[in-house]
Each structure stands twice: as C-alpha cells, then as structure tokens.
C-alpha cells in the first residue's frame, strides 16, 4: 500500500450521507499531459494563450453537435435528487462532487455565454464568466467523475453527468489542458496497439507462458493464438488481461471456454486492446481512431465474429457505438451478435449444455458480484432487458456453489462505481480513488459480515485493478477481487480434444 496523507473514510454500519464540506477536494488534480502525449491526439501541447476564446468556441461546437449536452445544461431544476448519489461526494463531502455541483461548473459558463438571461442578467441565473479559476475547477472536478452515470438513474430529467464531464474534458484538451494518464495511453494505442505498450513479441511470449501453465495444470493443450488468419472469432480484450492479476486468470478462462466449445479464435497484435480511452476524454475522433483498429484487424484476419473480453467501458463503446464508429460490419456472420460479449458466449454455451462445471472447485470462496458501471448502465447483454445483470450472475451460479448479492440499492443499475473508472485509475488520483471506493467497500462489508462472503467477482479490468489497490485500505485483502471467467476457469470440466 502506498503512503497516504489524508483520512480514509470509515465504513459505518449503514450508509451515511455526509455533511457538506466545501473545497475538500479542490487540491486534487491529475498530472497534465505534456506535448508528446497531447499532439498525437490532435491537441495543443500546453495551455494556449487565447484559451478562453478557444474554450468557448469548443463549447459552442459541442452544443451544436450534441443536442443532449444542451438539454442537460438547460433542464436541471435543482431538485436535489442526485446530491447523495455520487460515490465521490459520499466519500469526500465536497459539494462540487455532487452531480448537480459538478454540472453547474459547466452550466454557469454555458448560461453566461450562450443564454439570453445569462448574457444580460447573469447574477439572477447563476451565470459566471469563464476565468482561470473556473478552468482550474473544471480540471480538478471533471477528473473526480468516473462517468459512471449512477446519478442519471436518479435524476427525474435523466441528466447524464458523464456526458457533461466528457464534454468538459474535450474542451480542456482543446485548450491544451489534457490529462497525462488518458492521453499518454491513447498515444500508446496508436503507436503500439494497446494501453500497456506491449509489443507483439512480448504478447506472444506472455501467451506462450500461459499455454504452458494451463497445460501443466490440466494436461490439456489449450491454445492462446495471436494473429491467426482465418480464425472464426477475433477476441478483443483489455491488455490488462495479459499483464495483471486477477485479469489474466479471466483470460485463461476465455481460452478454456473456446477450447471446450471447439471454437476457432485469435487475438490480434494490431488491435490488442479493448479499452477505448477516447470515450473518457469525450473525443469522438480519438474514440473512432481506436475503434477503427478493431475493424482493420477483423478484416485483415478474415474473422467471422468479434467477441469482447471482460472490460466495462469497452463494452459500452462496443455495444452502443462500434457500428457507428467503425461499421458497417456486414462482413461478419449475421447469425451472431455484432459484437458479442464473452459472457454472452459462455452463458449460451452453458444453456445449451456444451459447458459443464465442477462447482466444488470454487468451494473455497463465497462470492458476490460487482456490477461494473458501463456494463450496468450503458449497455445490455443477451436478448432480454436486464441481461447485463442476470447473465454474469448466472455464469457465477453455474460455476460456484456460494453466491450472495450485495444490498439491492448498490447493485444492478444502482451499482456503485469501483472509484477508478472514467480515466481516474492513476496513482496521482489515489485520494479520490480511495474515498470514492467507500460506498462499494461498505456494501461489500455488509455481505462479508452477513453471509461470510470472501470474494467479489467483476467483469471490468479497471474495477479489478482498482479493487486490488484500494480494498486493503478498508480492511480487505488485494486478492479478494476475482474475474468472472476465473471462476469459469476453475470449475470448467475439460475433455481431451484434438487441437
């Protein structure tokens, strides 16, 4: 655990809405991207001289492009329904982390410059000029939003703070105030093909190591192929699956599922990343560039299907935007969803009896499931509404004997973010990450105390890394977070097959 110089929120016996403490998180700012990270994305390398003019121009452009943004900025009636719904507010007490407070940072400037009342009677309508202080507040507080959209579920008008936060980051980028973590990573995807900067030969070496490990464990040769032309399925998975724990245990599980079902599949060294941080920074153009790599890989390899691994926001991009960004995918097999989630595949194979499990293999664990925000609130799975909630749980129940859900107001579409989503999974934001994880940690503690839960499963690389890092601050251990396909991997009954 890293050293910390702030107070970690206490886990109470029941959720408490904290009293407001103004400005407690004003100091929190991620490192800024320098020119070598900004320029490959098409942004100025540092704060431009005419930033105010450029920022307002950009805001005008976005208001024209995204009708939703203007609706969100216009329609808030200050009812207060969102105020206690954000995990960052609950963990920090800073009123600018209330969703309405966060929206107002942009809304006040919008009113001043783009509405009649704000132009002529600014004080009456809470309109304010764009000053350097306001710009600094944007940089600080729009990097304390994980774009998880929990607040939007409770807003009677459906205002989506995530979209406002994305617009704010796009404006910041356009004046040269980019965030190092996200922008360095996007530049790496363009150069090397994934967030980690893992070159092809390292990917091959890593996967060969996994093949050895799986063979040692099961006596079965399960393949983890890369760049295999003519394979039926292209697997697009977060590069964290190659690198980190418990992510890699999930990747091992996907391979076992493909093997057992007799499906031919491959990874791509060109599109070796599911994550698409273009969404976090609100940049349609960067989101499109990253997505187009997947299209190119699918065409080059001649695959018939695209399946996504366990990555939360990647599934939002894939499910909701991929066809617009990089379609049409008319060259893929239309009998399967385009794209498909690995959980949909596994679930279908369980239902049709192709996969069998020895559940006792997971008897050393009592599980709960963390709904990842982008899967829960920005996508679906399967054919039925709510499939994104039931399908992962069905997979866990099929592979484990012991499963309990966390309190209902913290799961499904009311799920609490892990605290590290939306481009905040970086060490320079550790304070906001730890404080923002408090509501989830509290819900976890409840099922640990009530049902003896020992592990929490998730289907998002960010959630897994975030919990590995922050759970120890709340009295848990780093290995209490597991991949859903890790549970599949442990319990799947494997037959010897010709490969």
């Amino acid at each position: 655990m890293a050293k910390i110089d702030f107070e970690i929120p206490k886990l109470e016996d029941y959720p408490v809405v904290p009293a407001v403490k103004e400005g407690t998180m004003k100091h929190s700012q991620p490192y800024k991207a320098i020119d070598k990270f900004q320029e490959p994305l098409g942004y100025p390398g540092k704060l431009v001289d005419n930033w105010k003019e450029r920022a307002l121009d950009k805001m005008g452009e976005l208001l024209g492009k995204y009708r939703s943004l203007q609706v969100y900025l216009d329609s808030c009636v200050k009812c207060g329904a969102c105020t206690d719904k954000c995990h960052y507010f609950l963990g920090t007490s800073d009123p600018k982390n209330m969703p309405v407070g966060r929206q107002d940072l942009l809304r006040k400037v919008y009113r001043r410059h783009f509405t009649f009342a704000g132009k002529y009677f600014p004080k009456l309508v809470g309109a304010e000029d764009l000053t350097k202080d306001v710009l600094d507040d944007w940089y600080s507080y729009y990097h304390q939003c994980s774009q998880c959209r929990r607040c939007s579920v409770f807003c009677p008008y459906g205002i989506d703070t995530a979209e406002i936060s994305m617009a704010a980051r796009e404006i910041l980028d356009s004046v040269g105030e980019g965030q190092k973590y996200c922008n360095e990573i996007i530049a790496k995807v363009y150069k090397i093909g994934n967030n980690l900067g893992l070159p092809g030969p390292a990917l091959v070496d890593t996967l060969e190591g996994l093949e050895e490990d799986v063979e040692e464990e099961t006596n079965i040769q399960v393949k983890y192929p890369v760049d295999q032309k003519g394979a039926d399925i292209l697997l697009i998975t977060p590069s964290a699956d190659f690198f980190a724990e418990p992510h890699v245990d999930g990747l091992i599980g996907y391979g076992k599922v493909f093997h057992q079902a007799g499906l031919s599949w491959t990874l791509s060294s060109y599109a070796s990343e599911a994550a698409n941080f273009g969404m976090f920074i609100g940049s349609y153009e960067n989101m499109r560039q990253v997505s187009l790599r997947i299209r190119k890989a699918a065409l080059d390899l001649g695959v018939k299907r695209i399946i996504f691994g366990e990555c939360g926001h990647a599934w939002r991009v894939a499910y909701s935007f991929l066809n617009t960004l990089a379609g049409p995918f008319d060259f893929l097999d239309k009998r399967y969803p385009v794209p498909q989630h690995i959980c949909e595949l596994t679930h279908g194979l369980i239902e049709s009896g192709v996969l069998r499990f020895d559940k006792s293999a997971n008897d050393d664990m009592v599980l709960t499931y963390h709904d990842s925000c982008n899967v829960a609130r920005a996508s679906r799975m399967g054919r039925k509404p709510g499939g994104q909630f039931t399908i992962p749980r069905d997979i866990i129940r099929a592979s484990c004997n012991n499963f309990y859900d966390m309190p209902y107001e913290t799961i499904h579409d009311s799920t609490f973010c892990c605290g590290g989503g939306g481009g905040l999974l970086t060490d320079d934001l550790m304070e906001v990450r730890i404080k923002g994880a408090m509501p989830r940690a509290q819900a976890l503690k409840q099922v640990v105390d009530d049902y003896g839960v020992t592990h929490m499963a998730a289907i998002c690389a960010i959630c897994k890394s975030q919990f590995t890092k922050v759970l120890p601050y709340f009295g848990f251990t780093m290995d209490q977070i597991v991949s859903v396909h890790q549970l599949v991997s442990n319990a799947i009954v494997m037959d010897i097959k010709e490969v």
Binding site: I185, D205, F243, K464
Partner: protein, 110 residues
C-alpha cells in the same frame, strides 16, 4: 524532478521514474530505495535484474505472471507468486520495482 546518484543529477518524471533508461546504474535503485526507506537485498536485486533483462529483449515490463513464473523457476516455487513480490516491493512489483530498475511505468488498466 531529478535524483542525485554518485554525484550525477538524473532527470525523472513527476512520478519519480527515470526519464532516460540509458542513464540507469545500480546506484539509481539504491537511491530510490533509500527514499522509500527500503533496504535492497539480493532478493530485490534478482527482481530488478530480471526486469532489466526482460525490458532489454521486449521493450516493456514483464506481465505479473511472467515475472512470478521466472522468480519461481529461479528461487523456488514457494516464491513464484505476487505475495512474495509484494513482500519485497510493498508499492507493487510492477510499479515500485520497475521504477528502481529504470523502466517506464506500466500504463493502462493495471
């Protein structure tokens, strides 16, 4: 930012990672460890040297599993796991050990 190693000033980024990997020498690891109040033992050096060798070949830090496997092979199976690595490098083998070894910080959802 910078660190002082054997009378030389070496540039680092804002997170304390060496700006130029070619400037690395053993003293870099010793100085960084001292700042973290960590005494480097032979076990630490085994990891640091492995990271550097791997980076030389693949231009990236090894995946956690690649690292644990290599450690297990060299130092005994009981040590081939992340628990052992975290005991050596409490801030995380990827991040703390990579920094000592002069490697860039692993980025992404890790």
């Amino acid at each position: 930012m910078s660190i002082e190693v054997n009378g030389k000033t070496l540039e680092t980024d804002e997170e304390g990672y060496l700006a130029n990997i070619n400037e690395w020498e053993e003293g870099v690891a010793t100085v960084m460890a001292k700042e973290d109040e960590l005494e480097l033992t032979d076990e630490h050096w085994e990891i640091i040297n492995f990271l550097r060798e791997y980076y030389e070949e693949y231009q990236v830090a090894p995946a956690v599993r690649v690292l644990t496997k290599a450690v297990g092979k060299k130092m005994g199976k009981d040590k081939g796991n992340s628990k052992y690595l975290y005991a050596l490098f409490p801030y995380g083998p990827g991040k703390q050990a990579c920094r000592y070894a002069g490697l860039p910080k692993p980025t992404g959802c890790v």
